[in-house]
Amino acid sequence: MADAALQLKARSAFDGLLVPGGPKDAGIVVTERKDLQIATVIARSSGFAEAIKTAYGIALPSGPKRIVVHEITLLGTGPRAWFALRAGERPLASDLEQSLGEHAAVADQSDGYGVLRVSGAKVRALLAKGVPIDLHPRAFAADDVAVTVCSHIGIMLWRSDADSSFDIAMFRSLCGSFWSWLSESAEEFGLRVEAE
């Protein structure tokens, strides 16, 4: 096939599901985070913490916490597992592989997940309809991360910077079902979709 004829257009996970628009005073505002590079990182050896320190100059927190370093957001998703994100085009998985070498198993997952940013005055009331964990500010602090199940769908959830704003990642194939739950649950609060 001639080069010119071959146009491989990328489609985001929520392509065709999210249609921008909605009331100005909506209690819920949703944006798809489309431009993320994503990788899973699994520590393979006890040298992992040191490798991170060498590469990024930080000590990784233990537990389900978020830390941001060199524009990379690292989310603690398991005792040895992290979910890494970085905005932009720059490949993340290969960078991490290079930095961490044999201390980590890195897999590119940039296409494997859909990520939504959900915010608005009613965001906690909305998430209470599916997320079985306590998101009250006293219980879920700014750097907290949770891997959990919402409406039978596995999600990763973390606070973005604002108090009433959460990022939620889920498997790409489940974005349609997640959206059907979210949009139905948000209807009573008013829902606005914004482009990134």
Partner: protein, 94 residues
């Protein structure tokens, strides 16, 4: 029922999958001369206590860890939970 995952914190039952008695983590030596009998016991026979029970749960809806949970089968009160693998291995952030 809520299970205190050592990594994630206390989580609802729906996030977990049950396997069974914690002895399932102690696979017999396949090279032993009585391996057939030992594997039969390992795979099939259970103490099935009415009271405290060490048991294996998988936190598949969370951190994907296998947990060894100590739970009272009469009251469902959970005494504690630990990562199944901690006894034999390292942790990543220490």
């Amino acid at each position: 029922m809520r299970i205190p995952c050592p990594f994630c914190g206390v989580r609802d039952l729906t996030e977990f999958t049950y396997l069974g008695d914690a002895s399932l983590a102690q696979r017999p030596d396949p090279a032993s001369p009585d391996a057939a009998a030992r594997f039969h016991e390992y795979v099939h026979l259970r103490d099935n206590p009415a009271g405290l029970h060490d048991e294996l749960w998988y936190h598949g809806g969370g951190c994907r860890s296998w947990l060894t949970v100590t739970r009272n089968t009469r009251t469902h009160v959970i005494e504690g939970a630990k990562l199944t693998r901690t006894s034999k291995s390292w942790t990543a952030t220490s």
